[in-house]
């Protein structure tokens, strides 16, 4: 009796699990599927649910990339430029800051750490007005440098906080052992600790990448000229139109933006939940 009931329950939960999968994956599937379908199978009452070979087309990607409304190539260049620069700045600046906060004891250390934590809680949305005025005042509107500076400052607290955790994870004793063996302090750090930190740097860098790549609000305020657009702003031009939206092209554009973000995200997803759990289960 109990066995039968358990089997019924198992089947029920199995069905729910499949349902959860479908619900979460369907929008992504629909985006990719639509992006490969010709307009006559997107519009109209007879929808195609997958791009079978006979209807498969790359026209939507052509329409997106060669859109007369918003040029694709400069947007890609801007996005890559801003993302890459942000990444380099926050990794270098964040790394040395994390070192200072973990390997040194000094007055003001605690205050700085509290500050880092609090700054993360200030919503960027609240500051768009003053940020716009300041960047404008420095003549940096519509420039990669202007946007990069804002992004770097925005991502930096998180970077310092995360790297600090990684550096703390490498025991100081390892370095000290190397120093006893005759390494200089810098040498011990460079040869022993740094290699152990590489995964942490990669993970933190990927986070910074995703942040800068996906960011929308600040870019909207700072990069107003068409040639200064980043990819999220470029994508926005497709849905902004007054005439009927070309959904095939929008989905193709969405796929193009999502691919790098999704790939990089999958690399580091394992690290995102770990930190919260390890300390929190103690109760």
């Amino acid at each position: 009796m109990i066995k039968i009931r358990k089997r019924f329950a198992d089947t029920g939960f199995g069905v729910i699990a499949v349902f959860v999968f479908v619900l979460s994956a369907f929008p992504v599937y629909w985006m990719v599927s639509t992006s490969f379908l010709p307009n006559n199978r997107i519009r109209g009452e007879n929808l195609a649910f997958f791009p079978t070979p006979d209807v498969f087309t790359l026209d939507n990607y052509r329409a997106a990339i060669f859109s007369p409304r918003a040029p694709f190539a400069p947007a890609v260049a801007n996005s890559i430029g801003v993302t890459f620069l942000t990444l380099v700045i926050v990794l270098v600046v964040g790394f040395v800051a994390a070192l200072a906060l973990t390997r040194f004891q000094f007055k003001g250390r605690r205050t700085f750490i509290v500050l880092i934590l609090v700054v993360q809680m200030i919503p960027g949305e609240a500051m768009i007005i003053s940020m716009f005025r300041i960047i404008d005042g420095w003549q940096l509107l519509n420039t990669i440098i202007g946007l990069t500076l804002v992004y770097a400052a925005g991502v930096l607290p998180f970077t310092i906080w995360t790297l600090r955790g990684f550096v703390n994870g490498v025991p100081k004793e390892l370095e000290e052992a190397a120093m006893i063996d005759g390494c200089s302090r810098a040498g011990a750090f460079w040869r022993v600790t740094f290699p152990l930190l590489a995964p942490g740097l990669v993970a933190t860098g990927v986070f910074a990448f995703i942040q800068a790549w996906n960011e929308f609000v600040t870019a909207l305020v700072i990069m107003q000229r068409p040639e200064a657009m980043t990819l999220p702003l470029w994508l926005r031009t497709f849905v902004q139109a007054t005439q009927a939206t070309n959904w095939g092209a929008v989905m193709a554009a969405s796929v193009l933006i999502a691919i790098p973000a999704v790939i990089f995200f999958l690399i580091v997803q394992g690290r995102m939940t770990g930190g919260l759990v390890s300390g929190a289960v103690k109760g």
């Binding site: 198992d10 939960f13 729910i16 959860v20 999968f21 619900l23 979460s24 929008p27 992504v28 629909w30 009452e45 929808l47 700045i89 600046v93 040395v96 200072a100 000094f106 250390r109 509290v114 934590l117 200030i122 919503p123 960027g124 609240a126 768009i128 007005i129 003053s130 716009f132 300041i134 804002v150 770097a152 400052a153 930096l156 607290p157 006893i180 005759g182 996906n214 909207l220 305020v221 999220p232 994508l235 497709f238 849905v239 959904w247 554009a253 933006i257 999502a258 973000a261 999704v262 995200f265 999958l266 997803q269 995102m272 770990g274 759990v277 300390g279 929190a280 289960v281 103690k282 109760g283």
Partner: protein, 315 residues
Amino acid sequence: MSSTLLDAPAPPRQEIRRKRRPPYLPWLLLSAAMVLLGVLTGFPLVRLVVMSFQEYERAQLMGQPAEWVGFDNYATILTDVDGFWTVLARSFVLMVVLVVVTIVLGMLVALLMMRVGKGLRLLVSVGLLLAWAMPSLAATTVWGWLFDTQYGVVNNLLTKITGDRWFGYSWLLDPLSFFVIVTCIVVWGAVPFVAFTLYAGLTQIPEEVIEAAQLDGASAFQRFRLIQLPYVRSIVTVLVVLSMIWDLKLFTQVFVLQDIGGDRELTSTIGVYIYQMGMAQGHYGLASAIGVIFVFVMLAIAYPYVRRTLREEEL
């Protein structure tokens, strides 16, 4: 390594060197971060507060000197029942709905992952990861397409299922269904993080505890309420605070759905309202005052989280 014994004098030399280490070295290492944060977070914050006390309109943008007006901007904002207060109330109601739905669904999915076998768990994880990884802007366009008035798959399926004609039904025009779609987008993107985190927490509960309860005749719901929930309570607290912060800051989803076909007047949340007031209409002073209020609200919400983190890090 084996030379440790031979180099006996090495440790004292290190001692001496350590003493000579200059005290300004940590500050030197921090200097770049301090400059960056000071100039691009501190300064904008100060500027925001200053502007909130000034009459700052398009004319000031063109170079006219900004006049000090004291608390006038705040008075204007705080007496604007139809504008500011409505937006604030709307943002808070939306936030509460989003947080409750996200946490409840996240918990249910986490429990589901505990219950099903390895294969199904992997299947659920793959789906969740896809939803989680999608950039919010791309996610918004996709959901906008799912609910498209003319050709959206939702209207198409509803027509097939109910037999009524749903083609041409606009989901975004009515504020209520607009926010239903916003809720779909946000919850869809946020449940994975909550579910994975809670699942990770639930797996750390010793199996014997659950088994013992099972032997004592506790029902599944009792086991959840009396054992699992207390175990992950502190994770839930953190998730609630983080979700509150993220959901109150909501911008991209609302802004882009408005682009696709919503009514800006009736659907703006705080962030979007600041943008409209400042960037679109040019009332920079008023928008700054709202920004300052927004910062305070946010810090108040984040306070317990900040305190808890600091305690945990034993600082």
